[in-house]
Amino acid sequence: MNSMVNRCVLFVPINNPRFVEKAWTRGADAIILDLEDSVPMSEKQKARGLVRETIAKVAKGGASVFVRINKEFAEADLRAAIWPGISRVILPKAESADEVRFVANLLTELEKERGIPVGTIEIYPLLESALGVVNSYSIATSSPRIKVMADAGGGYDTALDLEIEMFADFDQYAYMRELPCLAQMTAGVEAVGAPYIPGTSGRVNQADEGLALAKSLHDMGIHQAIVLHPALVEPLVTGLTPKPKEVKWAEKVMDIYEALEQKGENIAEVDGKIVDIYEYRRARELLQWAEACAAKDRYKMRAVTEAQSEVA
């Protein structure tokens, strides 16, 4: 359950010691060690060499640790990056099932070689082009290692592929978001997306925009986001954690529905809302999610306390 909670996933450029040292204090549920666009071409080799020693450093605050590889250097990156402690590989610009299978096969080989139970490491494809969107279903079904994947709504690479400006005053990415989302849900893969939010500035450090993002994600039933700036961590973690009011309502729905079932009934109106089997399932999911978030928060807090006492 702990590894399922990734409300806020923070990119950390692995070649920047200042960012790496501070990463564990940021409060993110997961950290992505980035070998791709955060690392200049001239430093790729050096960056690969840093992964193994960096895992424990960024995990000190209880965050899961992911790695984003370069698609064009997938093999070199994976050989350098797959060590115990890495739980997920972010595959950017995913465009075909074959690319995923290539990564999956190499992961199996490396897991065997390095004492990691086979099948442990997830693959998280990012759809960032028209071709990725078109192939979203075959990508989503290409490997059991895919539990979560991201649609192509609004990323920098998608804008590059389509040669369009970002942050327009209307929803430019409707199709690119909605089609992959359907494909992912059909494939039984959790869909992560970037909803359109009017008035987004494109500035990467705006905490208030982080809150708006969290609200939109929450409303769409999406539990996670990847961010570039630490200022967005807190708003996202808070915004994607169920509020006490929501938890209370869910508990009430559970009680009411269970009482209805006892009486052989299955529907009731409570405070102007319908309580039925669907609302019951929703409530159950919300409570499970709230419990998982609480467990993750306890885990992080313990880890931070320990790390701080080591420092002291």
Binding site: D37, A130, D171, Y175, R203, V204
Partner: protein, 302 residues
Amino acid sequence: MPRFVRRSLLLVDMSAMSIPGQILSAGCDVLILNLETAPRQWRSALNKSEMSSIIATATKSAAEVFIRVQRDTVDMDLEAAVWPGLTGIFLPEVEHAEQIQEVSRHLADLEHRRDIRGGALQIDAEIGTAAGVWNSLDIAQSSPRLAALSVGETSLYRDLQLDIEAHLDKDPLRFVKGQIMVNARAAGIQAQGMSYPLSITLEEADEPRLRQAVRRARDMGFKGAICPHISWVKICNEGFRPSDEEIAYYRKVRELFADGVRRGLASVPFEGKMIDVPVDRRAQAFLEWGELCTRRDAEKTN
């Protein structure tokens, strides 16, 4: 980078042997000579010298020339209209890849018979029905002759039985247009389309509205639009290319990024935004596109 600078594709009704001077001097990137609206008998009677002279007149305006044929009489129209000088064929209501392949075979035969370089003639496929939208990826991948998918808004409205009421902010074809554009892009070709509702109402839109519609089309990924009216041409030519301010901005982006790379950085901040590899490459693509558009415009004034 789009392969072709085709921001404005001006539709001209053909029923006479001449093209009005104001159309020739409109400055459009493409002239689409519309045979579809011409009487069948007139089309079937067109001969080589008449058609060649129309094509020659049209190309003198520095526009590329396409012929829009009628769906039910494609073969007859191709025989009547395909002569040297033509850039390609605009095919309405395409629903299946096979249609494109059939036309492509006919074009190959005409190229052979009429002294046109083999493979030179292009096809623009207009998607105007639900079936066409559904099959648009297949259509986009159907032939190396295929240059673009065009959104046929008016026919889509008829086919989907939508009500023609104009609300700029509620485009009922939002998803459909995204689908056509993404499928074209996935196949490596470009998409042409105009934002709702101006191509439906065919009104003589005021300039600010038209500019906004063009901007929206561009922000969705369309590289040009079919112009039903001469007054759209200039606005499309300007609206589908980066403005002077944007060009200055992209140059700045490239400068800052190059400077960052020299300092060993992979991303640099600029006005609160992040510039990294994809942002820099996008700026480069926009600058190259702007350059191509400038060159294309210069050809028209020469």
